[in-house]
Symmetry: C2
Subunit: 351 residues, 2 copies
């Protein structure tokens, strides 16, 4: 798949670290769930119906000005490893790595905008951008939504809003989320309090790969859980305002940490950098922890010769399938720990 | 004390790593205990007698061609910190840091040869040289012994040999020891077997600072424990031949380690180097362990940009009194950990 290769060999634009507060807020992601009117949802559809949906959605997307330069990747036409690679890039869901028949990904180069076809819903539109940028990501996706609305009949109820396969998405079909780096709150143990507070205002906090995934390297995903009875604009601005609070809490936690134990913190950060630059074997989990310390070091001005974009790139590139892709063959975990360490050293100017 | 400053600001020659096998055998040290005939041993002598002994021994040493360029340091005339500094350089004993009245150190620049006056014995002559070099160190010290013998009457019994304050030194008064780095044997847990084997042939194994000190950083001191009924030459060549065996065992242990777990070993070594080059706080014990790993890395050809002499220099320079001397003031342990880390980074080209 040359179009697949083209995608995965270009770094995702939203990892470039250019957005506001991108050391703490890596990225904001907006997702819209849409379904075709009078068409069975994928989990109830026969293959022929799925095929038809796939064809008409690919066609509609190809016509949208926003997706003019996108490529379509039929998930049934690529290898299981390649599907895992797309999962590691947050472009398809875990479910789609298994259920791939009559399913496709349509994605812009740079991966700022993409669409999954025949996942849980007929259409899952996604927009990701760097830093504190939920509104920007939403504006972009809203435009695409409008372009598609001109070409398709979406399943819509005047009382409920957009209809979706799962009731939790009915209404706006909108999920806004932010990937945030909260080492300060983890370290001072306020994180569970913050998570509890967010859940009280109906915001969910999860690990880096969504529902059911653990928080590694002090990375969390914060997202809205309500889609019914609120407007899209309210959803975005509410998430942004709570995100602003989390950002404040994290910064305050870091200040306290620095005041209480600057030397220990500097030592931990600098050692983490040293280990990443010299280790010959490193597991994914340890790498995530070490990179979290280095990222914090950048935020505090302690580390000055590593960029956020380099760390963001590593977040993706050290994942198993990306490492295998780099070496063109499957590898046992031990060997992966070795090539992961090699890759990190090469990208951080280690020895 | 400008002569003291002169000594401690020059690196000890025996740390220069130029001797044979100096990665594993840091140095060989030879010590001769000598006492003046018909003169009370220091622990039984009155101050006036000690004073007289001190004067005559200083005079005799000053006349010896071997010690022509030596400086004499009266231990009662320097500060407690300065005495600790001399202890850290292996130039005086722990006892002499406390009991310093009418005691002196006479030492050559480069510290290859020195004499303690009025320690346990009237005279403790010491010669240290780099690497596998017991014979060389002995030859040098034997010459000095001869030069002194021409000038002094030593307490000597035709049946027992040289008489000393402690019966364990009677006979040759000779102690030959080697400081050895045995990470392979420690790692494969054969070290206790080796220590047992050496004690069976009457060789003692101790930590880096002699009797009662713990082995840190996989450093051990191996020395003869018999001075009676053997010649000086036999003592030296016997220690050398067992040392040769220990060297073989250590090399074999390393080969096995490499065969069984090369990646893990490389990882440990390179990380240790990385941590030394980046840490902001490091205790003496941790530094010793990390430096042991780096030293092993040099021995195995894994680390190529650090020299043995640089590591040897650090062994001494990171000790508490040397760090305080460098900064010109007493320090709390926390601060020492910081300046120790700073010093190591500066000497290893860290960041």
């Amino acid at each position: 798949m040359s179009s697949l290769r083209h995608i995965i060999e270009t770094p995702a634009k939203w990892l470039d670290g250019t957005g506001e507060e991108s050391e703490i807020i890596l990225s904001c992601r907006v997702r819209l769930a849409r379904n075709l009117d009078r068409t069975p949802f994928p989990h109830r559809a026969k293959p022929a119906a799925m095929k038809k949906t796939l064809a008409s959605l690919k066609e509609a997307l190809a016509e949208c000005p926003s997706m003019k330069k996108a490529v379509a990747i039929d998930l049934g036409a690529i290898t299981p490893s390649e599907r895992m690679l797309l999962l590691e890039r947050h472009l398809i869901s875990i479910d789609m790595t298994q259920n791939h028949k009559n399913r496709a990904l349509v994605v812009l180069k740079g991966e700022g905008m993409s669409a999954m076809i025949n996942e849980e819903d007929h259409l899952r539109l996604q927009s990701i951008s760097s830093g504190f940028s939920a509104a920007e990501a939403f504006t972009r996706l809203d435009r695409l939504d409008g372009e598609l609305d001109d070409r398709l009949d979406f399943a819509f109820s005047d009382t409920l809003g957009y209809l979706t396969a799962c009731p939790t998405n009915v209404g706006t079909g909108l999920r806004v989320s932010a990937m945030v780096h909260l080492p300060g709150l983890v370290h001072n143990k306020d994180i569970s309090q913050v998570i509890k507070g967010l859940s009280n205002v109906r915001l969910a906090v999860r690990g880096m790969y969504g529902e059911g995934s653990n928080a590694m390297g002090n990375m969390f995903q914060i997202s809205n859980s309500i889609t019914l009875g609120v407007s899209e604009g309210e959803t975005v601005s509410s998430l942004e305002s709570y995100l602003r609070k989390v950002l404040e809490f994290e910064k305050k936690a870091r200040e306290t940490l620095l005041k209480k134990a600057r030397s220990l913190l500097e030592d931990k950060i600098c050692r983490a950098h040293g280990v990443l630059k010299t280790a010959r074997l490193v597991t994914s989990r340890e790498a995530m922890d070490l990179m979290s310390a280095v990222r914090l070091g950048i935020g505090l001005g302690i580390i000055t010769d590593v960029s956020i974009s380099r760390l963001n790139e590593l977040l993706v590139m050290i994942k198993p399938l990306h490492l295998q892709q780099l070496h063109g063959r499957p590898m046992e975990p031990d060997e992966r720990d070795r090539v992961r360490a090699d890759y990190i050293r090469s990208r951080l100017g280690g020895s």
